[in-house]
Amino acid sequence: MASVWLLLVLWIFVNALIKVIQASSCATIHTPAEVVRSGSPVSVSCSIKDDCTLTKGKDFHVAWKINNGFDPSNLSYQESNGTYGVIIPSLDTDTSIACAVCEEEKCQIVNGVQVKVGYPPSIPKNLSCSLNLRPEKKVFLCKWDPGQEREILSTNYTLNIFRVKAKKVPSEQYRIPRGEHFYLIPRLSYNLLSVLEINVTAVNVFGNVTSETLKLIPMETAIFDPPEINRIEADVAGCLNYNWSLGKSEQWLMTAISLELRLKTVDNQQNKELVLPFTKKNGGKINVCGLFHGTNYSTTMRVKYSTLSKWSEWSDPKIANTVMKAPTGSLDTWLKVDDQNAQLYWKPSENFRPNGWNLSYIVESMEPKRNLCITQESHCFFNLTEKVEKVYLRATNAAASSDHTEVLVYRKKGLGSVSNFSVHPQSETSVLLVWGGTPASHTVTGYVLEWRSLNEMPEAPLSFILMDKNISSTILTGLRPDKHYQISIYPKYDRGIGFPYILPYSFQTASSVAPVSNIIREHSNEKNGTIRDGIEMTMFVIPIYIGLSLFIIVVFACFGKTERVKMCLWPIIPDPANSSIKKWTTTYSMEGIPSFVEDKDSVLVYLSRFSLLDLDEKEPFKSDYVKESQWSRDINSYDECHSSLQTCVQYDSENDRDSVPYATVVFSGPYQNHSSCRPPYVRSESTQPLLGADDPCSPPPYENVSPSGSVSKVQRFSTFPQSFTESEENEELWEEFPMLRSLELRGTDHT
């Protein structure tokens, strides 16, 4: 009984609660679809309840708030008593529609709805399919681009396949799992070699669209494995015959497929690459002709099912040689003859084909018949006799020899050169050469441009180009910017080769105008116009030496104040004409002998300079100037009179250790009678020995310059007679030594 009452109370409570809840919402709102197609009209209705507190007993009206603004009243209407509606003619965006109860201007929103806009699905694009034939991954995959997808609407995709020639099951459809935009087509749904039509349909609530139909053969979409070249055979015609096969996955295919063969010459022989298209069945033989003879070719292949397919990877390369034959084509030659010495250079012309390997060249003469040279190089030096007017050059490979190339021997000299030749840099490795002006008396048949890199050890090979007579300029390429070159132009005449016009050239010292100093025109018959390398050397070496010498001189001049330097470069040689007999010591420096203060007579010539030592300068001119006591006289020490210039002086080492006598006159008798002996002279610190008058190399006797300007010769020294008084001695002295007189006079004048 109690439980019954409890249930009753509970039921009443719940009902009341529901009524309360219901009573709290004033209106219900309704719309046919909360998602509409873009541009579609939308109608919403709002039912106001009778017990709505906002409307009960009040004067109200219903308004519609669409997004952020209240709708103009022309869209809303009253459906029935208590039900109001609004129609939006075209909805393009997601819209919030709310129903509001308004009392005069005050409005209260009682309910609302969010209406979303949807679109038909985007057309699937870029539909593509590809077949994989590998056994481990044999699939036929189709994929597409769905375009813009809208999350609010679910779009379903269907893959449609239509087999053109199938009668039993012509078409099939496959539902695509949600969120995926690809499909692996079942194997039973397609034939490998038959046409298939495929498209994709997208469907949502607002419509369906279908992609473009793809029409294909599944095998066309497969990328084949690289084929295999089984064997290559060479035939005598210079062709290569290929035996090949498809990859393992495509071995079964018997229809014709597209092939590409790529042939490359090996070891950079002639740098040729051929790409040849073919259409062959699997295993069909391929024959390639028009190849160089005696050449290694590396061959690779690739295949595809048809022109619409993608290529496979290139196969592994296979190398084969074509058959050799004799070399063909011509050789450009350049023969330089100097008397009997010949230098022949050659190079293949554009049409030359070695047609084999181990190429060698033979130079021979016919009259007399002999081989002049056999070499694998591209030049040869040999002797030519006067009789030989032509030599013949041929190329030989392991198979055979080419035809002879005839080379005329031009010995005529004295033919003119071009009158102008200039070099203009074009780039780091090329120059423009311009020439012109040949003697009118000769008919030019062509030109030979020759160039060589200098200063290389071993000597760089000579390069040349043969040019037509109408050409007057050319661009030389392949030069190195760090090299010095010698470039020559030779005119060719019908009677011989002209003198060259030679230009040394270096990129580092290049100028736009050919410097005059660099122009060398060789007119020597003997040298045939070649420049010696020495000139090149001198142009660089001489300036260096000159500069070095100047540098040394400057250094000595600047730093040449030392005794040693002075003595080396300009030793001080006392001039007896301008010197006085004085005593000096070695401790005194020899340089900078002070001239006499008063001795500034320009008439006198200072032949040397003295340093006055150990004497009172105020009295330099005393009559006892010469103090014989200061000199050591040791007659006994005088050896025999001899013609030697050797000094035989001895000096009192005890008294005058640092004094060096300038001269000691020792006579064994009156000097007038002393004809055979040369008076010995003591050598002074001057490094110049005193020279005797009899010495053929000795300088001429001194000439004393008297104050009056006359010069009298002083042949020798002499001693005073014993009877002379001091004044007479002095007088005699002045007679004998006019220089001394002049000194005394000056001293007198200045005292």
């Binding site: 056994p135 044999k138 020639k165 199938a166 009668k167 079942p186 194997r187 039973l188 397609y190 034939n191 490998l192 070699l193 038959s194 071995q251 079964w252 295919l253 018997m254 229809t255 014709a256 069945k281």
Partner: protein, 230 residues
């Protein structure tokens, strides 16, 4: 020789034509004569009518079938005692073959007057269909898994069937009357365990391999004859 026979047949037809003209109206006589000319044409003429591309495609498919049979056998039948191409095993399984009711494949002879191109193509179709049905039935009734390789083989057989039918249409052969061999082999009652299912699968693949070799021979003869004519 074949050309001489054709000439003789043409002469015969001409005589018959004139008789028919006398007996029937001209148009009827002409129609009958033309049909006779086409039907009596030697194989070389049939090949001229058939597309070389279609023959090459058929050649490719039979090659693929032969290439895939061993891999299918290895992946589908996991039984080392059943080895493809083992003649001794074939002899030992002769009883079971009859018991399981594995139908024999049609015979393919060299195309000649006795064995026409039409008969050849019809037999090829019949034999391929037979093996296609056997494979389907074995898969349906047994517990042997339907491997990817079996599916590929079935697809290739179906594609070859389509190509043969195309050749028949090109040659003007009537394909409406040929049997599709939808007859059930009642394998569900006979393949009572996995071993018997494996035997059935082995026997089917073995017979298919032998039959495919015959098909290949026939197609090669068509290809070589076609090459001679071109």
């Amino acid at each position: 020789m074949m050309g001489l026979r054709y000439c003789c047949s043409l002469v015969t037809l001409c005589i018959l034509f004139f008789i028919a003209v006398v007996k029937m109206n001209f148009q009827a006589a002409l129609f009958v004569t033309l049909v006779g000319i086409v039907v009596s044409a030697p194989i070389s003429d049939k090949l001229d009518i058939m597309s070389k591309d279609t023959i090459e495609q058929a050649h490719s498919l039979i090659n693929k079938i032969l290439q895939d049979i061993p891999t299918t056998h290895a992946a589908w039948i996991n039984n080392t005692s059943l080895t493809l191409g083992d003649s001794k095993t074939m002899q030992e399984l002769q009883y079971l073959k009859n018991d399981i009711n594995i139908t024999y494949a049609p015979v393919l002879q060299t195309i000649s007057n006795e064995f026409s191109m039409e008969t050849c193509l019809a037999n090829i179709t019949k034999g391929l269909q037979l093996h296609m049905n056997l494979l389907k039935e074995i898969i349906n009734v047994s517990k042997l898994p339907q491997t990817e390789q079996v599916i590929d083989l079935q697809a290739e057989i179906q594609e070859l069937l389509d190509l043969i039918e195309e050749l028949q249409n090109q040659a003007g052969f009537d394909t409406s009357t040929q049997a599709t061999d939808e007859q059930s082999h009642d394998l569900v009652n006979r393949l009572t365990n996995t071993y018997l299912a494996q035997v059935a699968a082995h026997l089917t693949l073995q017979q298919l391999q032998d039959f495919s070799c015959e098909i290949l021979r026939s197609i090669r003869s068509m290809t070589s004859s076609s090459a001679e004519n071109s």
